[in-house]
Each structure stands twice: as C-alpha cells, then as structure tokens.
C-alpha cells in the first residue's frame, strides 16, 4: 500500500496553512482516528491532543440539539471513511469551555492515496450560529415589516367596507365611487404585501413542505370553482381534462394549490372575452405534467426570457391589467422547483400561452422548515 510521507518542511508548510484557516481544523489518521495535526482554532475549540492538561478535554463530545450525544456512526468523519467521500453535517453542537453550546457545521474529507484509499480525514468545524441568526433575523424582519404594513391596511379595508355597506348611513353615488377606489387600492396593497411575504419565505429556504397523498382532480376542481365567477364575467370557457385513473400524488396541497391558482388566474386575467382556458393533466414515466393553456394576449418574444423574474411584467400585460405586481410567476416557479418539479412555457403574442409544470410521481421531499405560505 502506498502511503503518504512528509518531510519536516512539508509538515511545517501544512501546519502554517491550516493555522491560518478561519475555522477549527484537524487531520486524523483514517486507520486509528488518531489526531496527527490540528490548527490553532482547533486547539481552542477541541483541546490540544498533544498536551496533557486538565483544562482542555482530550476528546470533545459532539452533541445533538437536544443535548444527547451524537452517535459515533453518524459523525461526518465516520461517514466520510465509510463512503470514501466528503460528508457535511450542519446540526452538530459542541459545549465550549465556558459551558455555552454552539452550533457547528462539520465537514469531513477523506484524503486518499494513489489506490483511492482514505489514509487521513481532514475535518473542519465552522461556527454557523451567526449565519443561522442572520437568516432568522432577515425573515423576522420581513414578517415584522409586513405585520406593520398590514395593521393600517386592515383598518383601511374594514372602515371602507363598513362605509360601502351603509353602516354609517347610505352614501351617494359619488361617495360610493370614491370609497370603492379606496377599498380597491387597499386590497391591491394587501395583495402586494402578501406576495412579498410569500416570496421572502420561499427564498429563505425555511418554508415547510408537508407532502400528503393528494387527489389532483379534487385539488384542481376546487381551484377552478374559485375562478368560475371571473371567467363567467368574461364569458371564458374553462375546460378541465384529467385521466380518471391518475393515482394520488404525494405533494403539499397548499403549495401546489398556489401554483394552480396563480397559473389559472393569470390565464383568465390575460384572456379576452369569449376566449378559452384549458387545464390538462397527463403523465409520462416519471412525472405528472400539468398544462394550463389560454387563448389570451400571449407573452411578447422579447419578454419571454424575463417572465419568471421578480417584479417583471410583460409590456402587453401591464396595458391590459395595470394592477399586477410581477410576483406571481416568480413565486410559482420557486414553489414548483422546491417541490421537485420543473416549469416551462410556450407563447405566441396575440394568440395565447401554455404553461407546463411537472411533479415527480414519487412525490415531493418533505422539509421540516418553520414558516408556511400566507
């Protein structure tokens, strides 16, 4: 077996290199787990294995969030050795000398010889408490800012609603029109705040994905029912086609419902009177494919590359419906992708648009997360 050999110069070079890394690092012998090198931050965090002292523990104990000992056979170094590949875990806690508990991301990389056998394990410990806190602060800020915006908006909504309902006496035609304008603008602002909140949640990566066996026929049926009034006002024909034998699919119905709602309401919004909107659900070997097609205004060729960008709206869409906020398709794409699917479209300006999205038949991966969509 070929083994590594180091001259004193190389050892020194390596020691200086790892001493200047911005995180705790050590190198272990794969065979015995013995520490052969450790950097300064490593010694501060994990103790110096080469000095006999009572101050530093010789072996540190890695913990789970609940304070129990992290099982040895689940530790990155162990797994890196077992799989002969790099392993990263971001849920490891270490009790520091002052008894405070910190969260670390631990990475273990096997260092292999020419026979592809791991001789050493390079292990690094990154303090990620701060990163997690920044993430949380960012989301908390958005939540709080939205809360502060919604407070006056709710009051505006409620008082204009009461005025329109005649709770403060009957309004004349002009008064009614004015209050209706206040009410419509308020609702538009509420929708914008809701969309911004949803986008920030999806982007934070902390969204809860809770897949349940779902009957797509029922899910889509309910969403179509919600759109029927608007479609009826514009005499738009709604067609729904789905294979009766399609099995249930394991998806988060709230998230995927949001996808159908966005695509269907867009289709109705951007289709002129007398047009038609079709929803067709089919399957291939691996995926369930949903198609939402309309005979609407289409997406101009020059706008197509940007259509999923945050706040972007097609030139003709702005003219037809000035009140959109350009967040719906961005959010839709983010949800589809976090559910394991893909989204695409084809469109001809003035003729119509077809959006397609896939969902893996095996279902979406669940994610514990800690926030839900609005």
């Amino acid at each position: 077996m070929m083994t590594f050999s180091f001259s004193d110069e190389y050892k020194k070079l390596l020691q200086v290199t790892i001493d200047n890394l911005p995180f705790a690092a050590r190198i272990l012998k794969a065979e015995t787990g013995e520490i052969v090198m450790i950097n300064k931050l490593g010694t501060e965090l994990l103790g110096n294995p080469f000095v006999k002292t009572d101050v530093f523990p010789q072996t540190i104990i890695l913990l789970r969030n609940d304070g129990t000992i992290y099982p040895q056979n689940e530790l990155p170094a162990f797994l890196a050795l077992k799989t002969n590949a790099k392993v990263i875990k971001d849920d490891i806690y270490i009790n520091k000398a002052d008894n405070s508990k910190n969260l670390y991301q631990v990475t273990a990389v096997p260092i292999k010889n020419s026979q592809n056998q791991a001789e050493f394990i390079f292990e690094i410990f990154e303090d990620i408490k701060h990163i997690k806190e920044v993430d949380r602060t960012k989301t908390d800020f958005i939540s709080l800012a939205s809360h502060q915006l919604r407070t006056p908006l709710s009051a505006l909504r409620w008082f204009s609603e009461m005025l329109l309902a005649g709770d403060a006496g009957e309004l004349n035609k002009e008064q009614k029109d004015f209050v209706q304008n206040i009410s419509d603008s308020t609702n538009r602002m509420i929708e914008l705040v809701n969309s911004l909140l949803n986008v920030s949640r999806v982007e934070s990566g902390r969204l809860i994905i809770d897949p349940k066996p779902t009957n797509l026929r029922d899910l889509i049926g309910n969403i179509i029912a919600e759109q029927k009034i608007k479609a009826g006002e514009k005499k738009i024909e709604l067609v729904f086609s789905i294979d009766q034998t399609l099995p249930e699919i394991n998806i988060d119905p709230k998230l995927i419902g949001e996808v159908y709602t966005n695509l269907l309401s867009n289709a109705v919004k951007y289709t002129q009177e007398g047009g038609s909107v079709k929803i067709i659900v089919s399957e291939d070997q691996k995926n369930i494919i949903s198609q939402i097609s309309d005979t609407g205004i289409g997406i101009p060729q020059e706008n197509q590359a940007k259509i999923f960008q945050k706040f972007f709206r097609g030139d003709n869409a702005i003219k037809l419906a000035p009140d959109g906020n350009g967040l719906g398709l961005h959010l839709t794409k983010a949800i589809v992708e976090s559910s394991g699917g893909e989204i695409w479209f084809n469109s001809v300006s003035g003729k119509g648009t077809s959006f397609y999205f896939s969902l893996p038949k095996e279902g979406s991966q669940s994610r514990a997360g800690d926030v839900t969509l609005n």
Partner: protein
C-alpha cells in the same frame, strides 16, 4: 339591529383603529362586545366575564397573545374557551401550536372582511346551539 346580544364576544386588540372597526361591526350585528387593549387586561376580562368567544391578537402590549392563550388554558373555564386568533402576523402557525392550544381559527386580519368575520361567528353560534 339584529338580536345576537346573548352572545358575548371579547375583543383583545391594541390598535385603536382596528379595535374600533371590529367593535363597531360586532355591535351593529347585535353582539354584546367586551373590549381589552392589552393582553393582561384581556386575560383578566376573559377569566372574570367568561365570554362565548375571544378574538385574540398576537402582538399585544403588557402580555402577548401567546401568553394569554397559555394562561387561559391553565384555567378550568379557560381550558375550553372558544378562541379565534385574529392577527396580521402570518406564517407563525407552527409557533402558535394551533392544535395543541385548540385554537378554532387562525385568521389574517387583512385577508378578512368584517362582514365575513360576522358570518363566521354566526356559523359558530349555530354550530354550538
């Protein structure tokens, strides 16, 4: 005016404009309305007046809505008190432990019209009788 005045609703809401709107609408719908502007006041009112329904905000001065709810559930009467959370803080359902705390509804204020809220409360009354 309708006659729902046997049904007592406690509104715990610190924002004076929202408070005024909810109370006005509920009174016009004929309900008997009790008011509290902070969490502590709300909890005291709930435990002494035993309302049929509590509309509870989350972000409140003195005592937040979550603490009100926790304290309420420790009381023999409050254990089964009917609570609707009416807040503008969304995405926190997991923290509020809706099922564990037996919250009947979690409503986002800005997404709900007051007329719809009244309809919901009336449905609840029918469900109870």
């Amino acid at each position: 005016m309708e006659t729902n005045n046997n049904y007592k609703i406690l509104v715990i809401e610190d924002d004076k404009f929202q408070h005024s709107a909810i109370v006005t609408k509920l009174e016009k719908a004929g309900f008997t309305v009790l008011s509290a502007y902070d969490g502590k006041q709300g909890l005291d009112q709930a435990l002494s007046n035993h309302p049929d329904l509590i509309l509870l905000d989350i972000i409140l001065p003195v005592m937040d809505g979550m603490t009100v709810l926790e304290n309420l559930r420790k009381d023999p009467w409050g254990l089964n008190a009917d609570v609707i959370i009416l807040t503008n803080l969304s995405g926190v359902e997991k923290d509020i432990k809706i099922e564990e705390n037996r919250v009947r509804e979690f409503l986002i204020k800005s997404d709900w019209g007051l007329e719809d809220l009244v309809i919901l409360i009336k449905q609840r009354m029918k469900g109870q009788s």
